[in-house]
């Protein structure tokens, strides 16, 4: 039957005793034992640490340990292994103490036979096993009891009134008071309820006494340690076989933790509710199907509907279709990407007014991370936007005013320059007139002198002939300079008549025909037909063309081409002279006649372009030009209210463009 032998550790230093015991254990009829014998405590402890024994037989008097101490150390070394103490007659007192401290048994040496020994060992093992099991169960129940937060009680009635109460053992854990405490103090159950909750507890008791099944009541109690705890009190009436109320049973459950969590939740709820309802923003939520699941009061007010008329609806129920489509598209995008959507967009107020709103949409998730839908916060920024727009408008206006100011400034500056230039030219004109006049008189004297000498000339004297000729020419030249000066300064009075520009040009070309021929210049004319007449002083304009043609001819000493074009058009841009004082400028939209004279000469070097109208500025050799031609030309054109433009032609040559106002047709 026994498959494994009972393992015994024998701790005994007396060889005779140990031999005797060994012998006894070998006797037939005893159980099958496996004996390990050691003589010292230290060795015994080593063996116990190394292997599992079923039982220890130990003499308390050992070479390295004596008495009760030996037992204690063995027990500490193997607390689960039963120990049977071996004692002599003289030290039996120690053995008894050891048993008191937990040894399973003791045997007195010399009085032990096989039967007693075997029984002692078996009992020791068995007792130890039972003790351990008991201990374990006790701990289990203790844990169980400690974890119970409910208890029951029964209130017995006599003549319909509570007479005594029985409280279950769980009451200690919940209230701190024992069943005996309640038995001793009949009002304890009521006193432990704080005053604020007592009425409710009484009401419940009255109801159950009246035979009702009142709904469970949650109320506070004060624990014996002073802590306030929440309990859930469920009562049911208890009747005898005749249906008479004899008692009622109650179940008290500790709900403090739940209650605290609930209160926390309520607080938190109130906190967020307050936030959501007091924020100046509109807040709502939608599910995955775009149906509203929440809206704060502000949004309800905005839509003009109570919350229950909003929940379950979609944007299409409140907004124009194109807006609803846009809103839902944005929602889906938020759900798809999981990203926050933020924008300023147009919206429509319930009154149909267009408003601007700032929108923030976020995806919402359940605690498992599953998408639930979207939450949107938006607020009206129309006023803000309007102010911004007003600001922008104001800014733009400011910028425009500034630009206008700059333009005026530039125009003023240009006008000032023109005035200065005009004053300068005016002064030069006055001076020139004076100079011309004063020069003429000495020239007249020289002329008379030369005349006289010429008459007295000895014809043989070639040198004298040459000298007088040079002098005559010098007088002529000086005279032509004075004439130019006077032309420049005078010409105030124009004899305006309606003239054909083509006729004036033809007449002028006849005057310069000789010079054209001399320089072998090809003349090309491209004159528009049916040009409107121009109101000009014919002589003056002829002088202008003479000057221009002569300049062109002189620019082409090796020959070339002179092209003359005329046409009429409507002005699309304006230019005016620097220095012009005339009020009757040409304006955009004016009908004008344009004459262009183009040569194939050397052109005007860039550095001189700005000086060509300056009086006395010339690039021609001495005696060829007076430096007054173009100043006079421009002066004349200016007096006619026209413009002159002189430009180099790409590829060489100069183009002079004269623009004169066309005379309105007489009607």
């Amino acid at each position: 039957m026994e498959t494994t032998p009972i393992k015994i550790l024998l701790v005994e230093d007396n060889p005779a005793d140990s031999r005797l015991l060994r012998e006894t254990l070998r006797e037939p009829g005893t159980a099958h034992f496996a004996l390990t014998h050691v003589e010292r405590l230290v060795v015994a402890l080593q063996r116990l640490a190394a292997e599992r024994f079923d039982v220890v037989l130990a003499d308390l008097s050992l070479p390295d340990s004596q008495g009760l101490d030996t037992f204690r150390r063995l027990q500490a070394g193997a607390p689960d292994v039963p120990i049977v103490v071996l004692s002599g007659l003289d030290d039996e007192v120690f053995a008894v103490s050891a048993v008191r401290e937990g040894a399973q048994d003791y045997l007195v040496k010399g009085r032990v036979d096989a039967y007693v020994l075997t029984r002692a060992i078996s009992y020791a093992i068995e007792r130890q096993r039972v003790e351990l099991a008991l201990q374990e169960r006790e701990e289990h129940y203790k844990r169980l009891l400690e974890s119970i937060t409910d208890y029951y009680y029964t209130v017995h009635l006599e003549n319909g009134r509570p007479a005594r109460s029985l409280h279950g053992p769980g009451c200690v854990a919940v209230t701190g008071y024992s069943p005996e405490d309640y038995q001793a103090d009949h009002e304890l159950w009521f006193r432990m309820v704080p005053e604020t909750d007592r009425q409710a507890v009484l009401d419940q008791a009255v109801k159950v006494l009246g035979g009702e099944n009142p709904s469970p009541l949650e109320h506070r109690i004060v624990h014996k340690n002073g802590q306030v705890r929440w309990v859930r009190n469920t009562v049911v009436p208890c009747r005898d076989e005749h249906g008479r109320m004899i008692a009622y049973d109650g179940l008290i459950a500790d709900v403090t933790e739940r209650k605290q969590a609930e209160q926390k939740l309520v607080k938190s709820e109130a906190f967020y509710h307050s936030l959501v309802e007091n924020l100046p923003q509109n807040i709502f939520r939608k599910d995955m199907d775009e149906r509203f699941t929440f809206a704060n009061q502000r949004f309800c007010t905005l839509l003009g509907r109570p919350l229950d008329e909003i929940i379950g609806k979609t944007d299409f129920d409140f907004y124009p279709a194109e807006l609803a489509v846009k809103f839902q598209r944005d929602d889906r995008e938020v759900i798809r990407t999981g990203q926050i959507f933020e924008a300023v967009e147009e919206n429509v107020s319930p009154s149909g007014e267009k408003i601007y709103v700032h929108v923030v949409k976020v995806p919402i998730y359940d605690p498992n991370g599953q998408k639930l839908g979207t939450q949107c916060i938006f607020w009206d920024i129309t006023e803000h936007k309007r102010s911004q727009e007003r600001l922008q408008t104001a800014n733009a206006e400011l910028a425009r005013s500034e630009a206008a100011l700059r333009r005026s400034h530039a125009e003023l500056k240009s006008a000032q320059l023109q005035l200065i230039q005009a004053e300068k030219l005016e002064s030069i004109g006055t001076l020139a007139a004076g100079v011309a006049h004063e020069v003429k008189n000495p020239l007249a004297i020289l002329q008379m002198g030369v005349n006289y000498l010429s008459r007295k000339l000895v014809p043989d004297d070639e040198n004298m002939v040459m000298v007088l000729k040079e002098m005559r020419e010098a007088i002529t030249r000086a005279d032509s300079i004075t004439r130019g000066l006077l032309d420049f300064s005078a010409s105030r009075q124009l004899a305006i008549t309606a003239e054909s520009i083509n006729t004036i040009i033809d007449d002028t070309l006849r005057l310069v025909r000789h010079a054209l021929g001399e320089s072998r210049i090809n003349l090309t004319k491209d004159c528009g037909a049916n040009l409107p007449p121009v109101g000009v002083d014919k002589n003056q304009i002829q002088q202008v063309f003479v000057n221009i043609f002569m300049n062109a001819i002189q620019a082409m000493p090796q020959g070339g081409s002179l092209t003359v074009r005329t046409r009429s058009r409507t002005l699309t841009e304006t230019t005016h002279f620097e220095g012009s004082r005339k009020a009757d400028h040409l304006w955009v939209g004016d009908a004008v006649v344009v004459a262009e004279v183009e040569d194939t000469g050397s052109g005007i070097s860039e550095e001189y372009l700005s000086k060509i109208y300056d009086p006395f500025f010339t690039t021609k050799p001495t005696g060829v030009g007076t430096g007054l031609g173009l100043s006079v030309t421009r002066k004349i054109i200016e007096l006619h209210g026209g413009t002159i433009d002189i430009k180099n032609v790409p590829g060489g040559g100069v183009r002079v463009t004269i623009t004169l106002k066309a005379q309105k047709e007489q009607t």
């Binding site: 006049h437 003429k440 008189n441 007249a444 004297i445 008379m448 005349n451 006289y452």
Partner: protein
């Protein structure tokens, strides 16, 4: 045929000297010079010219005033006056057939031929 009597009124002494020399050199003219405009009327009365060559721009008394004085003088009123002046320009003279403000004009500087031509045209025969 006697020489024509020419009164030359001009404040420019060099000019009057040379013109006088030139005109008298031709042998056709007797020239009296008056450099003071204020004395021009007196000189005309004394000299009784066939023609007055009259400068315009002169100090104190412009040629126009001198002409008015001469024209206003009962005995001299028929005396031809030709302005010889730097105050007009040749082309102005040419464009107006040599007459400006009812008076014949010669623009300075003028060649001797021009002066003689004008004298021959306008002088009292």
């Amino acid at each position: 045929m006697g020489k024509r009597r020419i009164l030359l009124v001009d404040d420019e002494k060099s000019f009057t000297n040379l013109l006088k020399l030139n005109l008298e050199e031709t042998g056709n003219y007797e020239v009296r010079v008056e450099n003071w405009a204020e004395d021009a009327l007196k000189a005309a009365r004394e000299f009784r010219p066939d023609l007055v060559l009259l400068d315009i721009v002169m100090p104190r008394l412009p040629g126009g005033n001198v002409a008015a004085l001469i024209k206003g003088d009962a005995e001299l009123t028929g005396t031809p006056i030709v302005f010889l002046t730097a105050a007009v320009r040749k082309h102005q003279v040419e464009e107006n057939d040599g007459v400006i403000c009812d008076f014949p004009c010669i623009a300075k500087p003028a060649s001797l031929e021009t002066v003689i031509e004008a004298i021959e045209k306008h002088a009292r025969k």
